[in-house]
């Protein structure tokens, strides 16, 4: 009964979604009197999809094997948390989560959005319903999560063991909140194009929604990067894999949008560009979903692939992105031009930020799709790989960092180069000092890493510079948000540069009792023993690590074998010190009885994710600051 109830809730939700689209359509044209039902319908629809998703979770937790999806992805011996998380660790379940988040976001707009002009809001809710309808159809016709199975099998087929990790419980939901949250910005842009109502009020209404989605995207990408780092056992934290790029592209677009929407809110500039970015950000979410689910590109992230689903998603992509861009082309000429500004001004700095972020987005998009384009043109299969991305995106990212350091020190509307120079000078001097010091200490360092460290130091100082001589208690919260987020980028950049230039790696074949030195540690292979868990068995190495005269640490990397389905994974053992991480992986046993060990000393690598977390915290501070201020001074203009 639970599965049938879930399916019924979905169908009902789809019907209400159609009603929402029709009612909003008539209301925007000023025909009929359906305007009053749009908001309640949006809320009811969200309640229904949330119910359907809750019921699917219940089926997974109870391991109801009469449901095909549960049979494929669940197992009664699996711990509770992973039965719970298995709900979204598969295609159908994650698409249901996608739709649930989409409709809940729509309901949130219906309930809480008070700033936007009423007609634009109705058009926005209509846009949200139009997106919803396509994804309901995708769920109901091509990815039904509630399909029954008969006869009922005795046991489920488990879950990909790589995904049996606490990270999985939180990583996809966070990322999806970000991806799908961007749909709100997309619908806002549609609404504004329909009613031609683009200006500071519109921008201030849209900004919190963009910020919210962007915070979750930042958290999701940071968590995903750390998950790949410790779970895949390759010692890397970013692989330029299509699936990773699929999450990076919406983030780049959303970051650009976040900054351009500020120009629109404060100075009424960049009107068309902001609408364009709002369309692109969610389009990138959809392109990413398509790339991941259609199996069109080779990726290390395996997803069940089905060409029919690929065609369905491609059709949705054409309808929504094509439709939005056609609307943009038809309407943007009638949107009044925004305010102008000087070439040396805060606005100009933000435009440079936008152009560079867009260029990096283009590089990532081209690199991700290049194998496909070349195959289309010449029939050749190839892989582009990190050399392209690092060489093409790296220098642009460093220029972006330099602009980021100067940007917050620029004045709105018009500034002069001389006083700007005085404001930027301390950061520039610090960057040069760090560059010289690092070059002297490590002459062989790669140029990108060297520039990265220097710019990170300069950016860190420049980020906190806007607080100089300010009363910290009276500094608005959203300014703190900007400071913390920019500081986070500096911290993360320093971590990346340290990791890529100072990492020490050892691949050794060691006998039990042998000692190996890696970085500041000496590591002894003490024993290799069999061990087991709920649904796996493993060989576990006991490594004793000592640093100088310090205490002995014990690390226990494992080579695990899961039996449902049978899969081998390596469980890394990581020790986090104040100045870096010791990363250990147990490999295979050689014919002569020695054990393969892969050992890394990664100085300051944790800064990468700490920086990512800081960026998200900065976003959260800005969001709270904006909302609080909007409550206090509803009608007043602010920066």
């Amino acid at each position: 009964m639970i599965a049938e109830a879930g399916l019924a809730a979905l169908w009902l939700g789809a019907a209400l979604c159609a009603l929402q689209l029709i009612a909003a359509g008539f209301a925007v044209r000023g025909q009929g009197d359906l305007a009053a039902i749009v908001r309640p319908v949006a809320v009811a629809q969200a309640a229904l999809t949330a119910l359907a998703f809750g019921l699917l979770i219940l089926l997974f937790v109870r391991v109801d094997l009469s449901v095909a999806l549960v049979f494929e992805n669940d197992h009664s011996e699996k711990p509770f948390l992973y039965r719970f998380a298995a709900t979204w660790g598969n295609h159908e379940g994650s698409m249901l989560m996608w739709v649930a988040i989409l409709t809940v976001a729509g309901a949130a707009v219906a309930l809480f959005e008070r700033k936007l002009e009423e007609r634009t809001l109705l058009a926005t809710l209509g846009g949200q319903a139009a997106i919803g309808l396509g994804f309901y159809a995708f769920l109901l016709f091509a990815s039904n999560p509630f399909a029954r199975l008969f006869p009922v099998p005795p046991e489920g087929r488990g879950l990909n063991p790589l995904l049996q990790d606490p990270g999985l419980a939180f990583h996809p939901p966070t990322l999806y909140l970000g991806y799908v949250g961007l749909s709100v910005a997309f619908s806002f842009a549609i609404g504004a194009l329909v009613t031609r109502d683009v200006g500071p009020v519109f921008a201030r209404a849209m900004r919190p929604w963009v910020l919210g989605a962007w915070i979750f995207l930042t958290l999701g990408i940071t968590a995903g990067s750390y998950w790949a780092y410790y779970e895949l056992g390759w010692g890397g934290w970013w692989f330029w894999d299509p699936v990773e790029n699929a999450s990076l592209m919406p983030w780049l677009a959303a970051t650009a949008l976040l900054h351009s929407v500020t120009v629109l809110a404060t100075r009424d500039g960049l009107r068309a560009w902001t609408l364009m970015l709002a369309v692109i950000a969610f389009s990138m979410s959809m392109v990413g979903t398509f790339l991941v689910r259609s199996g069109i590109l080779t990726s290390v992230h395996a997803f069940a692939v089905d060409p029919r689903r690929g065609s369905f998603l491609l059709a949705l992509l054409f309808i929504y992105v094509g439709g939005a861009l056609a609307l943009f082309g038809a309407r943007v000429g009638t949107v009044r031009a925004g305010a102008r500004f000087d070439p040396v001004s805060r606005e100009a700095g933000l435009v440079a930020n936008n152009l560079l972020l867009s260029a990096i987005l283009g590089i990532v998009l081209v690199g991700t799709l290049y194998p496909l384009l070349v195959e289309a043109a010449t029939g050749t299969k190839l892989s582009v790989g990190p050399p392209y991305f690092d060489a093409a995106a790296g220098p642009l990212a460093l220029i972006l960092v330099a602009i980021m350091a100067a940007g917050p020190l620029l004045r709105w509307r018009r500034d002069n180069l001389k006083p700007l120079g005085r404001r930027v000078a301390p950061a520039a001097i610090l960057a040069v000092v760090v560059m010289v010091a690092v070059k002297l200490a490590a002459p062989a360092i790669h140029i990108l890493s060297l520039l990265g460290l220097a710019l990170a130091a300069g950016l860190a100082l420049a980020s906190v510079a806007p607080l100089w001589k300010r009363n910290l208690m009276r500094t608005p919260l959203f300014m703190w948000g900007m400071v913390v987020a920019h500081l986070g980028i500096a911290v993360s950049l320093a971590g990346m540069a340290c990791d890529s230039s100072f990492t020490v790696e050892k691949l050794v074949a060691a006998r039990v009792g042998e000692t190996v030195a890696v970085g500041p540690y000496s590591i002894t292979l003490d024993a290799v023993d069999p061990t087991f868990g709920a649904n796996w068995q493993a060989l576990q190495a006991t490594l004793l690590a000592r640093r100088g005269d310090g205490d002995t640490l014990t690390l226990t990397p494992q080579a695990r074998t899961y039996w449902a389905p049978p899969t081998e994974t390596s469980e890394t053992a990581i020790h986090t010190a104040i100045d870096g991480q010791l990363y250990t992986v147990l490999g295979k046993q050689a014919a002569d009885g020695r054990w393969q060990l892969r050992l890394w000393w990664k100085p300051f690598v944790t800064l990468i994710w700490a920086g990512g977390a800081l960026v998200a915290i900065g976003g959260a501070l800005a969001l709270v600051g904006r909302l609080w201020r909007a409550r206090r001074k509803p009608a007043e203009q602010w920066i």
Partner: protein
Amino acid sequence: MTGPVKWTPLVLFILLGSALTYGLAKPDTTNIRSKMIGASVPSFTLPPAMPGLPGLASSDLATGQPHLVNIFASWCVPCVAEAPQLKMIADAGVPVMGIAVRDRPEALRRFLARNGNPFRAIGADDASQVQMAMGSSGVPESFVVDGKGQILQQVIGPINPEDVAGIVAAVKTAR
């Protein structure tokens, strides 16, 4: 934004969409003949790509014995997929020579430790020059080269399990 400029995003998107449509609909076989087939291997000398294995020069391919030359990289995902097939070919007695494109010794060492080492020699092609000269536009690609250094066959993309027997036979019958 005025005039034709405002339609540019739509046009770009339609191009992108067409490529994606092609990607979904494309036929699976992509073996095309290269212009290099029948030609001699271009003359080159590549330094060793990692300590412990010799580098590769064109003179090593004209020793009277046929070879399989594999152009690959540690950062290439399809190269991981074809590693077991290369190992089978090497185990069947075919000398497999590697050209590592834009690679680093430590990354290469890690790649070979994880996926096995079928190579007798690996040359470091740090600027893709030899790759280009061989008429290869991506990784992985493999060339069957006869004893006089002539290219007999080119395999574009990863070697699939069903290709192994044919490649071994092609090398064995070459002189």
